[in-house]
Symmetry: C2
Subunit: 697 residues, 2 copies
């Protein structure tokens, strides 16, 4: 399969069906002639020659082998052309025409027909409805995009892009290389993804020697689990901008876990836990990607030194770093002493290192070079964020040497650059050539540094290891007795019995069928108690006023029991629990996601958390170290570490619950979802206070 | 005073002490000659002529009236020059030299000496340690900054900047006008702010006809209250980037209110409530400011139409808008019908409006013009976010007409622009000339739109109205009996007695001096009860294990009473309360801030809120509408509106508590802080569960 993919990127010859002397059909040929070194065969029955190249009436009349066919003709003409390709034994076809599944049912049938032909003949289809492929370093423009895209010159880099958007790739490329002087590597516009999709490209680009980092803009992710599993083992940084987060979820959420999974939260959380960096806008995605490409491998980059010409910019950098959880490095005594030799005597040396006063004495570049060399030596510094004004003097910073020093010392270097249009462009291009990242705003530089810090932290994390074959449960599973399989949504009591059977701690409770049983149970369970009316198939007990908390005495119990029984109108059953005092509430859950398969969730429960969810999703099954990673992965983890007199969460117990929950879900394929909500924590110990098991229907 | 300030901005003549043929001294003269039309008098005893201008040995030997003196000589020579200025009756002096309070004690004395001379003679000092003033529209460069700043050409606008940072103003200006083609108006670098400060400049620029919006970069804000009061009445948008948010607060915080006030939270919250927009980085500050300058006055801009050439960019715009709480407009039926006439038949019309398919039919500009005219008519659309690629074809968008249409319909228009370097610069300059804001990233465009939406919402808010003279309490104050003034930190019981005396609802409680009193009180207050050991001067009872919650019966009471009494070692007193069931916990507080004077705080209490504070500060005293604004101003306000079966907060009761708390603090100047924490809410009703009054010492 990889060989076939290589025909898209590095074909020995290209035929263009729909080549013409005008518009897009002409631009494809013009773009091919710009840099592609192999044979080019225009195909169009109406012309004998196009741009000096002999033109062929059909694919089959080309008297040579053809490696890649680019099709750019009206959609309804595509299937017969594909059949021609099949006859000629072509294996790679890029359909750049629009008019397929994106335009409704007729287009969908056309696309389906194309796929049938391709599958029958072993053709791989790229597209349709896409801008094709650009490889800036090889000067391959397999696309009908306007040749203006390279009018400001090409800037290559090791950052490759995969974008599920056509127009954007052309305009965006023009903007990156033109307006911003930012380089790119391969740009893959994959359109409708009828066949070749993000997983194919991820696999290919992970192996591609010219690519150091891969950025994706995706609106859909049909094989989420495969993508996540590949990303999990990937050696290269991956950045994803996922479009459509704000779209309302299609299906009504039965459980809390599945409602929390909506709006891309599950996808983003799963991807983040396997080391993918998430972006939220196009330029930011590229800025993060190129920063990740320029940071040394397997390096911690939390402690940053700031070299600045402005006290104010230093202060704002510190503020932004604090916001992103990065540390302003505490410079070593040796560094401080050495810097004192550069600074004027009145000036206290500190980080941020304000070079301006010393520049007044020694000149701009000399000061910078000395300070940089000193700070790059400091073992307490991981990264250097340099504020610089391009072209202020004629002296030019030696960026090559700077990068050499940084690499030798294993430091990350990035610039915040100000200056005139011409000066900054020249500086940016030179920096790019030396693998140094330049940013136009402090906030963006810091944001990218934070992404790099997160990436390198995750790189060193233990990978998900599976004991058995994928999808099978682990060894914690205990034999379960008879399960009620006649109802799709289990009530709280049955759900917790299943969990307790697997060793998940649950609150003490008892079913009470009469008032006298209730009175007896209350003595057993001890006041205060809780009464809950469990109705068949009903999850939202509180909203139905079927829960009475904190029943203090017999009198209150009688009232509560009667009220709830009355409201239940003869259905369901009544459950009594001891009213546990909890310090806070967590939530855990299991579900099968359409894209990502079995997944496990952990996070904060309770009302405040519902306003602003703080949960983590990972692929199930999980091992204890992944479960521990989930506990460490919530925003509010400080609370779990012991806070203001509250006992720290017992991590062993908590990971154990998560592993058992995941194993249970994976072991019983008939289980669709499990909700443990709330998972109350009392004195550091988690207990399932309520739970729901939902079977597949 | 305004007249004096005008001499800085529009002087009839300027003398430059420290003019020279080289370096900064030469650049000041060169900059003045660039555009300033008044008389220029170089002053330097070593030269007879500088750049063709006659040079004077001293200020006093200039035979003409001098309106403004710019001083750029070593710091220790400045005081005698100032004395010369005083003798000549000069009223406005801009000291651009460094070497004053920023370099330690010698510099501080020098600066103090300068101020003494100035105060004695009525001179206003701008600086020292600053880059002076630039007025791009008037071409006034009263500064030693490198003339390269205008090498890419000047781009004027109505956005004025005040920056407490020297180097940054020059480099930043070069970057704005050069690299970004962004215009600016007046740029005031105010350095050490020995005399002229942000309040002077706010007052001046609010009156300045050329300024429509004012952006500040400030590291300190000495007259915070004055600034906030001016901002509150301001007709022009104000944007502030406050440096130093991450610096550790200097003073240890006694109360929770004052610990929440730290790290600029109070300053930022107070400023935000009076309509100031907060920024977090330099370019972002300018981008927000110029967007605010370009939006029509007193307009709601929540509902946005997105005109795009890329489905993907439209989706990402929607995602970003959702994140910022902006609404993607629901287009009216009339608009949808009209757009159907522009779109190809297969295409469903929706917002985002993807113009690309129609552009394929009608051409780029024709499609755009028709769609824009249709959408600008839609009464359900407040703002149009337009995605555009500069220079893709030779046709040029008529931006003048576009702005005329938008203005006529009262719509906000802003662009997200892609394209080559040359094309985008040309587009940006033209857009700027017509008052249209262009952004380089979708996220920035949306962020600015959100800032504008917030600004216009706040503009229509009720202003803080004071019944009496400022600083005096309102009519709610009731006579208070004898107060314990012998201790600076009151215990919980005394504190709540004071609050209860002012009509603030407090939890039912009683002091218990013996076990038998405790047993009696428990019957009165009803189990479950809470016991608290109150130690003199001790605020953190829980950490000292002096609190026992949820005592259910006599047996537990005996144990709790004995344990707490034992831990108190004969000091303090014991308080018993009924253990109220609360739905959630709030916090309210009063304090005197050094910069902002008496302030009131409201927000969420409890543990999760401590991890991520959600509080609002405003200037005290407050009226009920401001108090209501505080309740509506917390991030978690959805919880207060009734959420998941929890009763909505009774707003009348809550505003009443806030008004009384503020009045109490303002009425008794000896009160430094009042902490009401937690303010428990049960069935929508807030009660003070704990409180602390701290007197000034």
């Amino acid at each position: 399969m990889e060989t076939k993919m290589d025909s898209f990127f590095n074909p020995s010859s290209v035929a263009v069906v729909g080549a013409s002397p005008r518009k897009g059909g002409a631009q494809i040929i013009q773009n091919l002639l710009y840099g592609y070194q192999g044979a080019i065969y225009p195909v169009n029955p109406r012309y004998e020659e196009i741009q000096g190249l002999p033109c062929f009436p059909s694919i089959n009349e080309i008297p040579h082998a053809v490696d890649l066919v680019i099709i750019f003709i009206p959609a309804h003409h595509v299937p017969p052309v594909l059949e021609g390709c099949a006859q000629k034994g072509i294996k790679s076809v890029m359909i750049e025409s629009a008019g397929f599944s994106e335009v409704g049912s007729t287009g969908r049938s056309l696309q389906h027909r194309c796929l049938e032909i391709a599958n029958a003949s072993g053709i791989r289809i790229w597209g349709p409805n896409c801008m094709g492929l650009v490889d800036v370093r090889r000067r391959h423009f397999f696309t009908f995009m306007n040749p203006r895209v390279y009018q400001d010159g090409l800037i290559g880099s090791s950052t490759s892009l995969v974008v599920q958007s056509g127009m954007l790739s052309a305009a965006f490329l023009t903007d990156l290389m033109g307006q911003r002087a930012v380089g790119v590597g391969k740009v893959c516009s994959i359109g409708n993804k009828a066949d070749v999709d993000e997983c194919d490209l991820l696999r290919y680009l992970l192996e591609d020697r010219d690519t150091e980092v891969i950025a994706f803009y995706l609106e859909s992710m049909r094989k989420g689990r495969l993508f996540a599993e590949m990303a999990d083992g990937a050696q290269k940084p991956i950045v994803i901008l996922k479009g459509g987060r704000s779209q309302a979820g299609a299906k009504a959420a039965l459980s809390h876990t599945s409602s929390l999974a909506g709006n891309s939260r599950l996808a983003e959380s799963v991807l983040a836990t396997v080391g993918v960096t998430l972006a939220e806008d196009f330029h930011q995605m590229v800025d993060i990607a190129r920063t990740l490409a320029s940071t040394p491998e397997t390096q911690s980059i939390v402690r940053t030194a700031i070299l600045t010409f402005s006290g104010g910019a230093g202060i704002v950098s510190c503020d932004l770093m604090a916001r992103h959880g990065l540390h302003v490095a505490q410079l070593s005594d040796k560094t401080l002493k050495a810097l004192e030799g550069v600074f004027p005597p009145w000036m206290p040396v500190a980080n941020p290192v304000d070079l301006y006063p010393a520049m007044e004495i020694h000149g701009r570049v000399a000061t910078f070079d000395r300070a940089f060399a000193i700070i790059a030596e400091d073992p307490q510094v991981d990264a250097l964020l340099i504020h610089y004004v391009a072209g202020l003097e004629d002296e030019i910073l030696n960026l090559r040497r700077l990068k050499q020093i940084a690499d030798a010392k294993g430091k990350t270097v990035l610039f915040w650059l100000l200056g005139s249009n011409k000066d900054t462009r020249r500086f940016r291009k030179e920096a790019q050539a030396h693998g140094i990242t330049v940013h136009g705003e402090i906030s963006r530089a810091v944001e990218c540094l934070a992404a790099a810090a997160r990436f390198h932290t995750l790189e060193s994390r233990p990978k998900i290891t599976l004991d058995g074959p994928k999808g099978s449960a682990r060894s914690t599973i205990r034999e379960v007795g008879s399960l009620p399989t006649n109802v799709p949504v289990w009530d709280e009591f049955d759900s917790k019995r299943l969990l307790a059977g697997q060793g998940v701690p649950v609150v003490e409770e008892a079913l009470v069928h009469s008032l006298s049983e209730a009175e007896e149970a209350a003595i057993q369970l001890k006041f205060p108690v809780v009464l809950k009316g469990l109705m068949p198939g009903q999850i939202h007990k509180t909203e139905k006023r079927l829960v009475r908390l904190g029943i203090e005495n017999r009198h209150e119990l009688v009232d509560a029991f009667r009220t709830i029984r009355h409201r239940m109108e003869g259905q369901g059953r009544i459950l009594m629990q001891h009213h546990m005092k909890t310090d806070y509430e967590l939530i855990a859950g299991f579900l099968h996601d359409d894209q990502f398969g079995p997944c496990l969730m952990f996070g904060f429960g309770g009302i405040l958390a519902e306003l602003d969810p703080d949960v983590v999703f990972v692929l199930a099954p999980v091992d204890p170290s992944t479960a521990l990673g989930m506990i460490k992965g919530v925003r509010g983890k400080r609370l779990l570490e012991g806070f203001r007199g509250i006992a720290p969460l017992e991590e062993k117990r908590m990971t154990d619950i998560l592993v058992r929950l995941s194993d249970l879900g994976v072991a019983y394929p008939q289980i669709a979802q499990i909700d443990v909500n709330p998972l109350g924590v009392s004195d550091g110990k988690p207990f399932a206070l309520d739970a729901t098991v939902i079977l597949k229907t």
